[in-house]
Amino acid sequence: MDKNRRNFLKVAGISTLAGLGGTAVVDRLVAGSSIAHASAAGHNVDQEEGSKGHGEQIKPSGNRYGMIIDIKKFQQDPSLGEKIVAACHSTHNVPQFPDKKDEIKWIWMTNFENAFPDKANKYNDEATETHQLPILCNHCDQPPCVRACPTKATFKNKDGIIMMDYHRCIGCRFCMAACPYGSRSFNWRDPEKFVQNVNHVYPRRTRGVVEKCNFCDERVGAGKLPACVEACGESKALVFGNLNDPDSEIRKMLKENHTIQRNPALGTFPSVFYIV
């Protein structure tokens, strides 16, 4: 190619790139806040989020939600287990697949040695041997799954709940490998036909995303208790509250009862405590 043509192409190429890049940069600077917001009455909303997630710093609110699970109550009333699983799974449209490998579960009953593999005992008491207890996402304070997620599709919200953004999840399942408690499930296929009792005020998920317990963030945000806690009724088998509030019921119970956590040696600092 002769030199003049080459130089021309070089200049043309670089100016095109500069032009495209420049317009993109200028657009970004001018855009700032994204839309005319739905605040017809001038409702004040924190505009820091933006539509593309710039400035995605989530300011902690000072709350930290946690849960106490009283194992003895589940031993005394074995029907509670079914109730809490049904309450959770029906509230959140969790599907039930015929093939076990596609299984999705947010909360489920399991044996003591599976919930606490680090506390394996050869000589367990009879109640522990014969009864099961519920396990769920621990909503850790130092969650390995949040560290692992490459898109921040799973993140810790301002109240310490580990949330899932199903819009952003790319389904890489790194969080599932990272979770030391096996709390996460993946939608291996389209769940639409497998939701038993559809709850019309909560969405489903689509195939290809990871899901897990979300501490009923939508109910807690409306001042209600999580579905599983509510399903326990008066028995106080599950207690939910703000761990950072020293006067809360959960803190009182933590003071009065000896509790254990799942695999504390891993440094995850779970928010779920078990009364043995």
Partner: protein, 123 residues
């Protein structure tokens, strides 16, 4: 021109192929979609032109506010408080996905995947 016996017919076929959208449906322009508006509400979250252009931007910002920032604050229209939610606000007035959402989406060949997860109202 070398190989003009191959190139000219090839060019003609190419031009015909690339202009298919123009001549394939000639004379049969689809009618402008008429979404069925809700009877009991007068104003939407935003004025009609804005909401038509920006409803996805609005929904995405609602999602980020509710899920990420944790701001479940409500907003007011005509004296009533509404949540920032597709299923609990939008679909409460626009109660038929087929008669409202689908009319424009089908016309403009848009296939949003909202309904993979967000449960459309029972028709």
């Amino acid at each position: 021109m070398y190989d003009s016996g191959k190139i000219i017919p090839g060019l003609i076929i190419f031009v015909l192929f690339i202009t298919i959208p123009i001549w394939y449906n000639r004379g049969g322009a689809g009618s402008v979609p008429k979404p069925v508006l809700p009877k009991d509400a007068k104003t939407c979250v935003l004025p009609a032109a804005e909401i038509r252009a920006q409803h996805m931007v609005l929904l995405n910002s609602w999602r980020d506010e509710v899920i990420r920032t944790g701001d479940r604050g409500t907003f007011e229209i005509e004296g009533k408080q509404y949540k920032k939610s597709l299923m609990l606000t939008c679909m409460k007035c626009h109660t038929s996905k087929k008669q409202f959402c689908d009319t424009c989406h089908t016309y403009s060949s848009v296939k949003p995947y909202c309904w993979d997860c967000h449960i459309a109202p029972v028709e």
